[in-house]
Symmetry: C2
Subunit: 253 residues, 2 copies
C-alpha cells in the first residue's frame, strides 16, 4: 500500500506522501511517489500516485514524453485548465492499464493506479483532483479541502479535526506529517522517508520540497512534540468523570 494526501487551503496547496512500495512483505522498496512538473512563473503540477508501480511509471513517462514533444496533441504544457490536465492524466492512466491487461489477461495482477493531480496554471485557481483508475476525476471543495489515496483511514481523523480553508500552509503541512506519522505507526505498508511539497497560491513554483526521514531533526522534533502534547492533553486537559477523585462513589453520568 501507500499513503499520499494533498490539502488545499486559502494560502495554497500542500502535498505529502510516504515512499514505501511493496509487492508482498518480502519485496519492499523505496520509491518516490511525489512527482513535480514545474514551469516556474507559468504552471506547476504535482502528481501523487498509489497503486500499480508499473502503471504509475508508464503514466509519468508518457507525461514526460508529451512534454518533450512540441507537437504532442495534449501535454501538461498545453492544457488550458487544471481540469483538462486531470482528464489528460486520466486518459493516460486508462491507456496504461489497458496495455498491461492486454498481455496480462490471465494473471491476477491489479494494474490500477489512483492519482492525485494538483497545481496551478497562471490565471487560474490552485486546484486538486483525485483521478480514479477509470480515468474520471473529482476535485476538492471548501467542505472537503483534502484528498487522500492509498491507506487513508488511520490518518483521516486528524485532517477532519484540523484542516479548514483558513489553516496556514505550515499548519496544514504539520497536519499532513502527523497524519502520515499516525499511519506509519499503525500500518507496515506505509513507510519513511516522507516527501512534502508546498505550493503557495500564485507563487507558481514549489517553494519548499522536503524529504523527511525518521531521524531528520525537524521530523523527529515534530513526532516528539506531538506525542508529548497528546499525553499532556490526556493527563491534564480533558474533563474528569464525576466519580474521579472519589473512588468510592460510583455514580452514573
Amino acid at each position: 500500500m501507500t499513503y499520499c494526501l494533498a490539502i488545499k487551503v486559502d494560502d495554497g496547496l500542500v502535498f505529502a506522501s510516504d515512499t514505501r512500495t511493496s509487492a508482498g512483505v518480502d519485496d519492499v522498496r523505496t520509491y518516490n511517489k511525489l512527482h513535480i512538473s514545474e514551469t516556474a512563473g507559468e504552471r506547476v503540477f504535482v502528481v501523487l500516485s498509489a497503486g500499480n508501480l508499473a502503471t504509475t511509471q508508464w503514466i509519468l513517462n508518457a507525461i514526460r514524453r508529451d512534454l518533450d514533444q512540441p507537437d504532442a496533441p495534449v501535454s501538461l504544457r498545453s492544457v488550458r485548465h487544471m481540469y483538462d490536465a486531470a482528464e489528460y492524466v486520466g486518459t493516460l492512466s486508462v491507456r496504461a492499464q489497458k496495455e498491461s491487461s492486454a498481455y496480462g489477461q490471465y494473471s491476477n495482477v491489479d494494474f490500477r493506479t489512483t492519482l492525485i493531480l494538483g497545481g496551478q496554471i497562471l490565471g487560474e485557481e490552485p486546484s486538486l483532483y483525485l483521478v480514479y483508475p477509470e480515468g474520471n476525476c473529482i476535485s476538492v471543495s471548501p467542505e472537503t479541502p483534502y484528498l487522500q489515496i492509498g491507506e487513508s483511514k488511520y490518518g483521516k481523523p486528524i485532517l477532519d479535526r484540523i484542516i479548514r480553508p483558513s489553516t496556514s500552509l505550515e499548519d496544514a503541512t504539520r497536519c499532513a506529517l502527523v497524519s502520515l506519522d499516525s499511519t506509519m505507526k499503525s500500518n507496515l505498508t506505509v513507510g519513511p522517508p516522507l516527501d512534502v511539497a508546498i505550493l503557495p497560491r500564485d507563487a507558481l513554483r514549489i517553494t519548499h520540497k522536503l524529504r523527511l526521514d525518521i531521524d531528520t531533526p525537524y521530523y523527529a522534533a515534530l513526532k516528539k512534540a506531538w506525542g508529548e502534547n497528546l499525553e499532556r492533553v490526556f493527563r491534564n486537559d480533558l474533563p474528569k468523570f464525576e466519580w474521579e477523585g472519589d473512588p468510592q462513589q460510583h455514580s452514573m453520568l
Copy 2:
C-alpha cells in the same frame, strides 16, 4: 459496520462500543453491542460484537440459555478460566454460523461475527480475548493492550499513542471515547449513542456503565475539549519550520 474496542490496563478493563447497525444505508438501527453477564463477587463477562446481527443474537441467547440450565455441559457460570469462556463462545459462534449457512447456502449473506470477550473470574487475572468467526481466539498482551473489532482503522492511532499498561482506567476510558468519536466523524456506519463499561481489577463487578449520546453533557464536554486542545497544540506547541517568521527565506531542512 460497527466499532467496538476493549482495553486492558494494570488497573482493569474498559469496554466501549457504538450502537449503529446497518443493513444498507437505508436500513439503519440502534442495537446494543455491549453485553454484560455478571455474578457480582465471583465472575464478570463482557461481550462486544461486530458482524451479522442474527448470529450475534443467536450466540447471546445460547449463552443465556446455558446460564439458565443448571445441567448445561458448559456455561459462563461453570467455565474455570477466561480462556475456556472464550473457547465456549467461539464454539457457539461457529455453531450459529453453521446453522444459518445450512439454510442460506445459496445466498450471499455474510453470517460471520467477530467478538471480544473480556472479564475476570475470581482468582484469575482480568483478561480480554478476540474471538474470530472461525471460533479460535487471541488475547491481549502488555505490548498490545487493546483489541478492536469492526471499523478499527480510524481510531487506532490514538490508542497506539496513549494506551500503556500504566494508563489509568479513566484515561483509558477517555481514550476509548476519543477513538470512537474520531471513527464516527469519519465513517457513517459507526454511530451514537456509545456504550461504556468499566471493570476495575478484582472488583468483580462493573463499577460504571455509561450510555453517552452526542448531547450527554460529559461526552459533549469531552468532544469540545479534545477538539480545542488539538487545535491549540497545532497553533502553539509544534515545532516551526526554519522558514516560518521569514516568508522570504525558502531554506530546505
